[in-house]
Symmetry: C2
Subunit: 228 residues, 2 copies
């Protein structure tokens, strides 16, 4: 906080950042738990370990976020509480039917979350921004996922059609949950769209952001060999 006392002097900014970090934290821990669940569907121990490494990376990020909330003087679990239903809903509605759907969900979900939070981070104080950029930096496991998905499609091209549909569904569910979440949380919204002295996105900027996020999603899908 010492690096940017002025930003946090604004109570509504502070509340917004706490909400953002709460959402982000719960997003990470719930992703971690789902990845661990999904790892069970992996075909062998070596693959399960690769998947577990992704879960461990998410968990590491979670711990950093939790520690930041503690440093801000709040109970991190109380800060996460308002967001649990939203993320649990998302995960319930997007339970993968098999290992490949799990991999695509990880890759697409991680990517979307990273894009979205990094866009928001651009408007935040330097310390919060650095934390978000760090915890959202891609893990090194992208190549593993791309390789697994591409191989599976090569072996059976019909899988590509099914996974493409799956990717679209993930994107739709993610957007609808994100929208519902932002609509409910005033402090979070004011950090995103700006308010008082806080800079933020205007509606045109939000439109452009969604375009960028959608384009990046399309690129990720095509890296997997899938149509978005």
């Amino acid at each position: 906080m010492s690096a940017s006392p002025s930003a946090f002097d604004d109570e509504s900014y502070r509340a917004g950042v706490i909400e953002l970090l709460g959402a982000l934290s719960y997003g990470e821990i719930s992703a971690c738990e789902r990845i661990v669940d999904d790892a069970r569907m992996a075909p062998d121990l070596a693959t399960r370990v690769e998947v577990a490494m992704m879960a461990a990376a998410e968990f590491e990020h979670f711990i950093q976020l939790r520690d930041r909330l503690v440093a801000l003087g709040v109970d991190p679990f109380k800060a996460m509480e308002p967001f649990t239903a939203s993320f649990e809903n998302f995960h319930r509605r997007t339970a993968p039917a098999d290992y490949l759907e799990g991999l695509v969900k990880m890759y697409v979900g991680d990517g979307l979350a990273a894009d979205f939070y990094r866009e928001i981070a651009a408007y935040l104080d330097p310390e919060t921004r650095a934390l978000i950029v760090e915890v959202m930096s891609g893990t090194s496991h992208t190549d593993f996922v791309v390789d697994q998905v591409r191989k599976a499609i090569e072996a059976d091209p019909r899988i590509g059609g099914r996974l493409a549909l799956w990717g679209r569904r993930l994107m739709g569910e993610a957007l609808s949950q994100a929208q519902a979440l932002v609509a409910e949380r005033d402090a979070l919204t004011s950090v995103i769209v700006g308010g008082g002295d806080t800079p933020g996105f205007d509606l045109t900027a939000i439109g452009r952001m969604f375009t960028r996020v959608t384009e990046a999603h399309t690129e990720r899908m095509s890296r997997l060999g899938l149509e978005a």
Copy 2:
């Protein structure tokens, strides 16, 4: 390997160490997976996170062991293969009925494994010994487990009786699996009891080792407020 070329020049010593690291690796990854399972029974998110930190520590150890097997020029998953049934048996026979049984299993199981492997490590080349001592060093979560178990017994003393029985059952199952495992694996056995130029335990030493391991178990149980 460069630090101790002579030990690894002995093919049967090398085979024994690989078996030991294979057993240890699978022990760690299967413990990690069970802890993650058991975390689901935790009463709230804060506790679930504490438990997940223990799983993350086991996973970190697993990765170090796996990397060591790779450095020794073997397929780590092939090295683990002979031990999977034994550990899976143990876990199937000791599935915790609730969160507290899960905590006691973690604590008692981790402690037993650490004692046992450290005893063996004393007879190994310095590099292998250092690795084993490092991955078996206690995590910092002991206080958390002790605190949770003691509080639960305080709130309902009958829990103490049930958990004491549980601890005895864990000890019994662990010993019987360890015995079966060693009996089946010649290379592992010769590392433990010695053979050729390899030092190791003689039968009296094995007896003393079991006494020490049992005493340490009793101490751990009493730290939890349980009779061994």
